[in-house]
């Protein structure tokens, strides 16, 4: 297994995906001038290419999925899968943040639990909190109570978000 730097990894991804990458950059962590700087890969792909990208990354090392974040962008929901490769080597770990956008009208995204079984809990969370339809996992509640009302997604910033009368002392 070759250990690649963030830049080398991004280059390989760019070679493979080319125009299909919507965004691709390596961001350096601005903290101090202490060497070596922390460099992380940020890429954005369409949901059709998402699984392919993940499989491509798996050729290098088994990816450790930290979590999938979600942000409400208005008409779209942006999911960010935080994945790290090459663990156990000092200063060599590479973080890859994969952004995927899905429209709110059709918030479907394929599951990755067949590739990384540990992704189940974070996918369930996205489903109940953000109203993302993860295809291929059971539609059950994980963190929210079983009798939580349908159609309310706490992290949304639109009319499906929690109503004001449900939220007290929070604002």
């Amino acid at each position: 297994m070759d250990v690649l730097s963030a830049d080398e990894l991004l280059e390989k991804i760019q070679q493979k995906f080319g125009e299909r990458l919507k965004e691709a950059e390596v961001k350096e962590r601005a903290m101090t001038d202490a060497p070596p700087p922390i460099r992380r890969v940020w890429v954005r792909v369409d949901r059709e290419d998402f699984r392919e990208l993940l499989k491509f990354l798996m050729e290098f090392d088994f990816p450790h999925l930290a979590v999938a974040s979600a942000a409400d962008m208005g008409d779209e929901i942006e999911l960010i899968y935080h994945i790290s490769l090459f663990q156990g080597k000092r200063f060599k770990e590479v973080y890859v943040n994969i952004k995927v956008r899905v429209p709110k009208s059709d918030p479907k995204i394929p599951t990755i639990t067949d590739l990384i079984p540990g992704a189940l809990s974070t996918e369930l969370e996205k489903q109940e909190m953000m109203g993302v339809d993860v295809v291929g996992i059971p539609k059950e509640k994980l963190f929210l109570p079983w009798d939580f009302p349908e159609g309310v997604y706490p992290w949304r910033r639109d009319e499906t978000g929690p109503k004001d009368d449900v939220v007290k002392y929070v604002r």
Partner: protein, 412 residues
Amino acid sequence: MAEHINVSYNVPVGPIHPALKEPVNLTFEVEGERIVDVKVKPGWNHRGIEFMGMERNPIQVIHLAERICGICSFVHAISFVQAVEEAAGIPVPERALYIRAIVGEMERIHSHLLWAGVAAHELGFDTLLHYSWQLREKVMDVLEIVTGNRVNYGMMVFGGVRRDITPEREKALFDMINYYRRNSDRLKELFLEDPTVKLRTRGYGILTYDEALKLCAVGPTARASGLAIDVRHDEPYAGYKYLNVEPILPDAYTGEVIGDLYDRFVVRLLEVDQSVDIIEEALEKIPEGEITSEPKLPKLMVTLKKAEGDGFGRHEAPRGEVVHFVRLKAGKDNLDSWKVRASTYGNLMTWPPMFKDTQIADIPIVVASIDPCIGCMDRVTVVNRRTKTENVLVYDDLHRLSVEKTRRLQRK
């Protein structure tokens, strides 16, 4: 042969149970004492902290982040601060980086000793519980001397830390180092050489290397299964860049990696020693200088308001990697997006394989072995099933309802 009769029945553990220190619900299907299946249902302590955070400005959120967890309060603060610093491009002076690492390691010592006590209690060995908590008092005292608080230290601020390590605080730290050096052999002997502890932990609750990898395990849980993963080592941040940190695997003590409960004991107890070493090294190397790059909060607020971008903060908490993702929008006071990934969230999926081939008697220690710190994100929403109306109950409402119920019972 007689037809197989299904003799299994359900034993619920939690959300309230003596084996659990925080609410989580596990429903076990058991046949006699043997566990057949388990279902995990978290979310009983869901306080909506992420939601609350998105309604506040970053400086307020530091204190909110600290209150995600009482035991590992520093880890959320440091991860959040690092994420915002990355998004807004705020530099941190070197001395502050060292202090962050020192406080982080002190928290690890206290958390691991606390865990060791709880684990011993789950085994029914209360003497060890009291012993390890007695040892823990030393680091709690020093935490109070250094940061001003026993929990929720309030040390973090964007661009540095809030309190310096003065010579007298440094002396208290060296005292603490000597104290733990003196007691470390006895601690390891009591926990790792006791025959009854070994009888209960060796060979039970096994998580294999493959399972740990595929289920995204983090921290000591992953390391006990032989997965060398430690943010302090892989992607050093704060003071860890200058310090010597190696991921600790159980074979350092036992010579082999099994991935059972005993190995998790080994990893955590060895990490106490490691943390003591790290603090000593940091105190020797710490340079003089400023402890924050921008002491004026209003000025910091302006910088943060102008900032735009994504930030990503990680910290190797006592329980494993903590990840905070933050998105800032220019011209907006509040956070645009905030995602907290506590370490237990990563380890949640590792429970079912650990329960394979175990008995009811193993439930508490297996549950405790990942050092659960139940992730927490919502307020109490009560749905009235009869009328289908929703209502949020806050402290005052709950208090009023309990008073009413007591009155009702008194009248009976």
